[in-house]
């Protein structure tokens, strides 16, 4: 596994697995993140809103996906990161978080890597896709 300085397009970053997502985790993340939206922590509220149950905060799932980049490149190299939330992440989900170097390119501020990111629920659908720009 080469570091970011010698990474070529196509190489995969070391993946990580996050989960299983528990109700306890959702409650703790509500407190830690400051997002107290009841739809993630109160199943009565979720059902009154027409949902079957509480589901994970998208930002809870962005945390581990971001770690795929920072564990590999270091926080100091992270210039930007963006994610799209593709599907609800249910209680019990185990997510496989992966990254792949897509492109090496030049900017006025120096060379950069574009890294594609994805989180996929085991036995299910992709729940996040994203992209990070890594400074070299």
């Amino acid at each position: 596994m080469p570091g970011p300085l010698h990474a070529e397009p196509g190489i995969g970053l070391p993946p990580l697995t996050f989960g299983p997502v528990t109700r306890r985790m959702l409650a703790l993340f509500a407190g830690a993140s400051g997002d107290h939206n009841a739809v993630h922590i109160d199943s009565d509220f979720a059902m009154e809103s027409g949902l079957e149950d509480v589901f994970a905060q998208g930002m809870l799932m962005m945390g581990p996906l971001t770690r795929v980049v920072t564990d590999w490149a270091g926080l100091h190299r992270l210039e930007s990161i963006s994610v799209r939330f593709l599907a609800i992440t249910p209680v019990g989900a185990v997510c496989r978080c992966e990254g792949q170097v897509e492109e090496r390119f030049e900017t006025d501020a120096g060379p950069r890597l574009r890294v594609a990111l994805s989180s996929v629920i085991e036995g299910g659908a992709p729940n996040l896709s994203g992209e990070a720009i890594v400074r070299l």
Binding site: F18, S33, D35, L60, T66, G74, L75, L78, I81, I88
Partner: protein
């Protein structure tokens, strides 16, 4: 009687497009950084131990990237506590129907334990998608250090999955 296709009617207050709200500043605490890290499985010592962080070239205990959300949320809570208008109240986000569509962070610096960071929101705009079933709101937030300037910009999309309308 036949009805013309219904014009999508949203829940967001679209008159807030272009609105800017300066929110209260937020003090970054090492305990809160550790709490967030514990939930997302982050164990890197740069987030917990000042000497380990300095040994790796950081000025001190540094927050992980998604801590930007904590700053934005807690700043908003301080505003609510103070009876000030918040961006989510202003756009009339309805949490029964609210989903998070996308989140982007652009970093110009570090969020460090001990920082007191300022937060400024802008309502970028609104649109319908999927034939009016989804109502999108685009928000932009700038988090700055009074001493070091811009630290992180947040671009966020939140979505109402619109409820069935009783007609």
């Amino acid at each position: 009687m036949d009805r013309a296709p219904a014009t999508p009617r949203g829940l967001f207050d679209r008159s807030t497009a272009g609105l800017r709200i300066k929110a209260p500043s937020y003090p970054v605490e090492r305990g809160r950084i550790a709490f967030l890290c514990s939930v997302i499985g982050e164990t890197n010592a740069i987030h917990f131990d000042a000497s380990a962080a300095r040994a790796r070239g950081y000025p001190g205990i540094v927050a992980p990237p998604t801590f930007a959300q904590v700053i934005e949320q807690e700043s908003t809570r301080i505003a609510e506590f103070n009876g000030e208008r918040t961006v989510f109240n202003a756009i009339r986000a309805d949490y029964r129907y609210l989903l998070h569509g996308a989140e982007r962070y652009d970093f110009a610096g570090y969020m460090l334990a001990g920082d007191e960071l300022t937060v400024c929101h802008e309502v970028v705009g609104f649109e319908f998608k999927k034939g009016g079933v989804l109502e999108m709101a685009y928000l932009h937030t700038v988090i700055e250090s009074p001493e070091r300037g811009p630290v992180v910009e947040i671009a966020r999309t939140v979505i109402h999955r619109l409820p069935e309308r009783a007609e």
